[in-house]
């Protein structure tokens, strides 16, 4: 549990800038949600038994969680690791690079969870998530955050410079958002594309969150949870491996 000191360090910084941080975390997905949701929603019939805006709110909950986790562990993580050398100073204390990586990943997941939870709260206020089952989206959001924070941290510890992240964002994150059912049901994609989406973590987050928002228990919940857990665990192990390599040099 030594990672908690690292988590708390990041939490204290966040607390100083809490208003700006929450606003920026929220503004993007909410503008998208209400802009696209209401605009497109007026043109579209209901999808999977829910209004388009509710359908899209469930997707946005997942994609916003993914983006917050990824940005925190890549950009903010890189700033702490590379720019400010904060990790170096932590390593003078009786903490190891494993503790730092764990603290960073859990921190990014926590911040991402807050993004997801805030979107859920807004959706609930607008009557888009009325079922008590929506509470179960909260642990799912944390798990989605954990998976993407861990993958983001691999990128962070591998990065030589800031440009490195644009490959991951442009070539992986943006297409993943398109094919994972955030904007439209992934099932209408061509089979090979759907199959590809199914090996990526975001799809499984959406498959869990959307039925819950609609008030139904998700099908194959164990499978979706398992995929997210495996992503989180394996990516954390890989991030630790590369971080050890980077820091023991």
């Amino acid at each position: 549990m030594r990672w908690i000191a690292v988590w708390r360090r990041n939490f204290l910084v966040w607390r100083k800038l809490v208003i700006a941080s929450v606003l920026t975390n929220l503004a993007d997905p909410l503008i998208l949600l209400f802009g696209l949701g209401y605009g497109l929603g007026a043109l579209l019939p209901s999808l999977e038994g829910m209004s388009y805006i509710a359908f899209f709110a469930a997707g946005t909950l997942c994609s916003a969680t993914m983006f917050t986790a990824s940005f925190e562990s890549m950009f903010s993580g890189f700033a702490r690791m590379h720019g400010q050398k904060t990790w170096d100073s932590i390593l003078y204390a009786p903490l190891t690079i494993d503790d730092v990586v764990a603290g960073e990943i859990i921190w990014a997941a926590s911040k991402a969870w807050l993004s997801g939870a805030t979107i859920l709260a807004v959706a609930a206020v607008f009557g888009l998530a009325a079922s008590p089952l929506v509470v179960l989206t909260l642990p799912v959001a944390f798990l989605v955050g954990l998976a993407f924070a861990a993958v983001g941290l691999i990128m962070c510890v591998l990065a030589k410079n800031w440009d490195f992240f644009s490959f991951y964002m442009t070539l992986i994150m943006t297409p993943m958002t398109m094919i994972s059912g955030v904007f439209f049901p992934a099932e209408q994609l061509p089979r090979p594309v759907l199959a590809f989406a199914q090996v990526l973590p975001l799809y499984h987050g959406v498959e869990l969150v959307r039925p819950l928002v609609a008030g139904r228990f998700p099908a194959n919940a164990a499978l979706h949870l398992a995929v997210l857990l495996v992503y989180a665990a394996v990516a954390t192990a890989i991030a630790i491996m590369f971080a050890r390599r980077r820091f023991s040099a």
Partner: protein
């Protein structure tokens, strides 16, 4: 009991062996200086002693703990002042100490109680709420030193503690370091400044190409490795004079347009120089820097 003991230490990065068979002994309460040109392996040696990087061969014991195996336990009782300040720019002066104390699992109340004393030690009283970017280079160094003391360490590792500081700031750091040795703390520092090493260190080791080439107190090193007097000569005709001077002194060296004459008795040299009014000269006692240059050579190390 020794504070630090390293035996036959080796560390290789790719083709280059940065530390090649290093033996090191630092006694408790000692201020020990590790001198060496750039690339001698000083920083790597410190990282090895902290357990931040693992040796390819050899053994390290720090405060009785085998490193790297029990490096975390050792680091509980160690303070580190790195070569480049890495204070946390997201926090104020006081928060830097509070957050750092938490990395040692110290209770918040205990850290809080220590902060005023540490700030006073660092000459930063009244600056608790200052942002790190608003501090001068000297203040940052002092805060880094205060941060390294948060866990009341028995042993301090310092990598070039005064590099980049102006003389005032440097003298203040020296004074603080001396008061730490008086408290009985063990200091291990690397430096390029011979003056710093001569003033602060009880014992020194000169390191080059990954191994120790000399150890001893500053006086012992000077006595053992170099003639006691130096005459530096430059000006018109110094090259011709240099050939001539070889007959007058034990050792004559040239660096750029200056001739260095080393001898136990420089009277014949000085007498001869009076016949060469074009030459400008300076007669001084030999210093640690002369030892350093003799042992590591005058070539640039980049």
């Amino acid at each position: 009991m020794s504070a630090l003991k390293a035996r036959a230490l080796r560390k290789r990065y790719g083709e280059l062996e940065v530390v090649s068979g290093l033996d090191l002994d630092v006694a408790r309460g000692e201020c020990f200086g590790l001198l060496g040109p750039n690339g001698a392996g000083k920083t790597t040696t410190l990282r090895l002693c902290l357990g931040l990087t693992h040796p390819d061969a050899g053994e390290i014991e720090v405060l009785g703990e085998p490193v790297p195996r029990r490096a975390r336990e050792a680091r509980r009782r160690i303070g580190v002042v790195p070569q480049f300040d890495n204070l946390d720019p997201d926090f104020t002066v006081e928060e830097n100490l509070l957050v750092f104390g938490r990395y040692f699992s110290m209770p918040a109340s205990e850290v809080r109680a220590k902060v005023p004393g540490l700030l006073e030690f660092a000459g930063l009283t009244g600056r608790e709420d200052a942002r790190i970017n608003a501090l001068s280079g000297g203040m940052k160094r002092r805060l880094t030193l205060a941060r390294a003391l948060i866990n009341d360490p028995q042993l301090l590792f310092m990598d070039e503690p005064t590099t980049g500081l102006d003389p005032q700031a440097r003298h203040l750091i020296w004074e603080r370091l001396r008061s730490l040795t008086q408290e009985g703390k063990t200091l291990v520092l690397t430096t390029h400044f011979m003056e710093e090493a001569e003033r602060l260190c009880h014992r020194l080791a000169i390191m080059d190409r990954g191994r120790l080439i000399a150890t001893g107190s500053p006086r012992e090193l000077i006595a053992a490795h170099i003639e006691p007097h130096v005459v530096e000569v430059h000006g018109n005709g110094y090259e011709a004079w240099m050939e001539h001077a070889r007959a007058l002194a034990a050792r004559v060296e040239r660096a750029g347009d200056t001739v260095f004459v080393y001898a136990a008795d420089v009277a014949p040299v000085l007498a001869d120089l009076r016949n060469h009014p074009d030459l400008i000269y300076l007669h001084r006692p030999a210093s640690l820097e002369d030892v350093f240059l003799k042992l590591t050579g005058r070539d640039l190390r980049d």
